[in-house]
Amino acid sequence: MTEVTATAPLYLSIENLWKAFGEFLALRDISLDIHDGEFVCFLGPSGCGKTTLLRAIAGLDLQTKGTIMQAGRDISNLPPSERDFGIVFQSYALFPNLTIEKNIAFGLENTGRSKSEIAVRVAELLDLVGLPEQDKKYPAQLSGGQQQRIALARAIATNPGLLLLDEPLSALDAKVRVHLRHEIKELQRILGVTTVMVTHDQEEALSMADRIVVMNHGVIEQVGTPTEIYRDPATLFVADFIGEMNQISAQAGAKETVVVGGAEMKCRSHQFSSGSAIVAAIRPDDVIPHGNGARSPGAKDIIETPENAFEVLIDEMEFLGSYWRCRLRNERFGEQELIADFSVNAARRLALQANDTMMIELPKSRLMAFEQAGG
């Protein structure tokens, strides 16, 4: 998928964007390219500037500095009505006194389309979002998920070149949300419309986006595909914000090693000079359990990097359905506990129990070194 979008032509280009609210800088020197047909998510905690960036693209809140090019046209200072986009808000902003049909037709009027053309288009859109029979109802008569889809239909009715989604799913309950994620993504794929979605939900971003833009404090921390972002977080913030991450204070060793509690372990290559204080990080599900029966029956349990394998005490075990979450202790971590997620199968085969000791390995390719937060 990454290959497809990378070769697609540039559609939206943001250059050195700043936004100041008085003294507060909501966006700081943001530059970003979005390709034609791409689905991009702006992901970050609340207050990170993601919505501000979206509103700047829409022209709803003008940026203080910087330029935005859309399809080769400089739209930096254009009012929303002169830009080319459709938008869905968290509140949907459906017109409460107009029927579903009239809501969707709202943007089609005064565009040179005849009444019958509009009716055909509305029916087509209702089909597309899977609500063909609801045209005479009022928004309040629909469920949240249905309203959401109507808002989407209204936004794409005029075939805009760009679709903007501002936390479109966060007002819905969990089940509907998961379902709609898939539907929106599917719709976007069919229409091929370049889409920018703002969300604070990492799962949403990981499952829907072609590329994710992780933001924090008004700057972009990392841009990449969901797998890149998850597997190779560029900063500790990204590592921590997306998925879970054990953070262990450590010193940088020579190239490809870190020193944790006096013990040297192999890790991914890093740029830090030897001896500098860093954070070693590994995801709980990357911790490998060792011992008799740790692998599936018949397979041999091999420790790949002996420096990275050591014995730990299981302090606590928590059953979370598909896996066990274990809190592990070892003197090299000091007071800190290492969290590891072991599959239910592995835990059963190893007969793991609290207060037992076991052997684990932090695989070299999954142990990362980061600059300390705030540094």
Partner: protein
Amino acid sequence: MSDTVAKELPAGPAVKGKLSRDDLLMRGGMAVIALYLVVTLVFPLYAMLSKSFSTFWFDLGQYEVQVSNEAGVFDGKAISFAALNEEMGLLSEEDLTAGSDGRLGVTQFFPDFSFRSPVLYKIRATTDSGRYLVGSKLHTGTVWLELDSNTFRRVQLRPIKSVGAGNFVKFFSTPALFNSIRNSLWIAVVSTVVTVSLAFWFAYALNRSCMRFKGFFRLVAMAPILVPSLLPGIALVYLFGNQGMIKEVLFGASIYGPIGIIIGSIFFTLPHAFIIISTALAISDARLYEAAVSLRASPWRTFWTVTIPGARYGLISAAFVVFNLVITDFGLPKVIGGQFNVLAVDIYKQVIGQQNFEMGAVVSVVLIVPAIFAFAIDRLVQSKQVALLSARSVPYQPNPNPKTDRIFLIYCSLVACFILGILAICQYAALIKFWPYDLSLSFRNYQFDRMDGGGWSSYFNSIKLGLITAIAGTSVVFFGAYLVEKSNGFKVGRSVFQMFAMLPMAIPGMVLGLAYIFFFNNPSNPLNVIYGTMAILVICTVTHFYTVSHLTAVTALKQMDREFESVAASLKQPTMKLFARVTVPVCLPAVLDISIYLFINAMTTVSAVVFLYSPKTTLASVAVLNMDDAGDIAPAAAMGMMIFYTNAGARILHLIASKGILRRTQAWRAR
């Protein structure tokens, strides 16, 4: 990555947004309505303020005169009038102060003046600003003007204008005027205390007891809003006046004065206090009462520690609203005040009675001070009230208590009797042939065309005023509120507009009316043409009642999704289409509320329009005042009740219309 990013906003100008056609349209619209408020509020008030600080006096040193001998030969010796005055000790400093229309004859400076004598006179001003009249022709300038005796006696000096606090000094040193401040404050304070207490228990009974007939009492409590404030005065005259039905109960005290004003004020301010306190009591949190019960607090203690603190903002707000209404009311003290002077009536007396516009302006300025003060406190308190109710509050449900419910029922019945009694007396008075001599009933008093005050045409003028005000006012107010709520950017302009929209509430009607005279009756004002027309009455009424209407509109608009405008823009649809298709229909209940509010107030208002009506645009409410003034009290009562029935009818129509329109246009509200 974050450390590679610049931390400082680069220098240079910010991106300047291109305005869309809608932006321009909305800003233009806002400018137009802001201009309307400037012209109909700010300019008139400024004119009034500057009037209150203008003093006029005759500057005798400005004029010189030469007198010839009997043969008509001048000796070339000129003498100033100041010197003449000093020589003779004729006019004191006080005599030389004047109004803007003051004229001073010159012959009094010449004791042996005779218009038949052959003596000739030469007169001139010594400065360019000196003005004098010969007959009705105005002369200025330093060129000598030669006149014979017969013409010279028609010379009059004109005063010069200067800016100063002289009028205020005069006001505060004239006990008759100055005492009005004390009277006004006293009346307002007493009325406020009594009204708020009465209204509190009435609202308490309706919100916190299980007594019967709540709907009826609620309706009765609102009735006084439908009549002019001076109507209770008429009823009180019939009850306790010199020939009153039950004047004995006053034990010889006179109803004409503070007693009458206070009772009447209670009548017409009760609904206002009731609405505010009732709202405050309605939103209290049941969980607090449950907590009080579980802590075994006595009902008395619960009342003082839960009920009163919960309603305190409502009580304070109600108190200041009532205070403001009473201190600025003009109709009631005019009808029943007798010799008891209050500020609002003083303005009327100074302007209509004595034609002393400068002093009228001074009293107005004095009256604005407590009015603005009360208004400011009310706004402050209202903004705090909002935060009181959390989303998790549980509405209080009263439990039946036969004993207290009966006490409340008796209490509410008494208050209802008071309100209905006043109205019934007025109706009775209107139907009696000739109180107290011929008690047979007739419609004679409805033959308004035989009385002063403009006759039936004033009634129809009032309806016309009400309808135009409701339609034009609602349009202007709602559109203005929409523009200020929903336009982008332009922060300074919007907050200035908000300020203008809040101002009218702080300005008493009398003051506004007087300010309109100063501004619109000025011949050099191009808007002078509307003076004396229905247009100025409409404009004045809309402006007078702008604030409450504006707040109603803003409240409704704030409940609309903020993003409607963004969606419309993204769909490339004009904002005005959104306004017409979505905003107005969704806000229709508020729009209807504003229009009925404006209609009823246009029907009942006296204070502002009393200065502005012309023989062609007499109004019913003013007719009540004028007929009462002329001694035609029964027809005044009859007209007052016509206003009541009209407003009651309008209210019912409004109710039916809203229901009908709501059913058709608000189908979406039903799930």
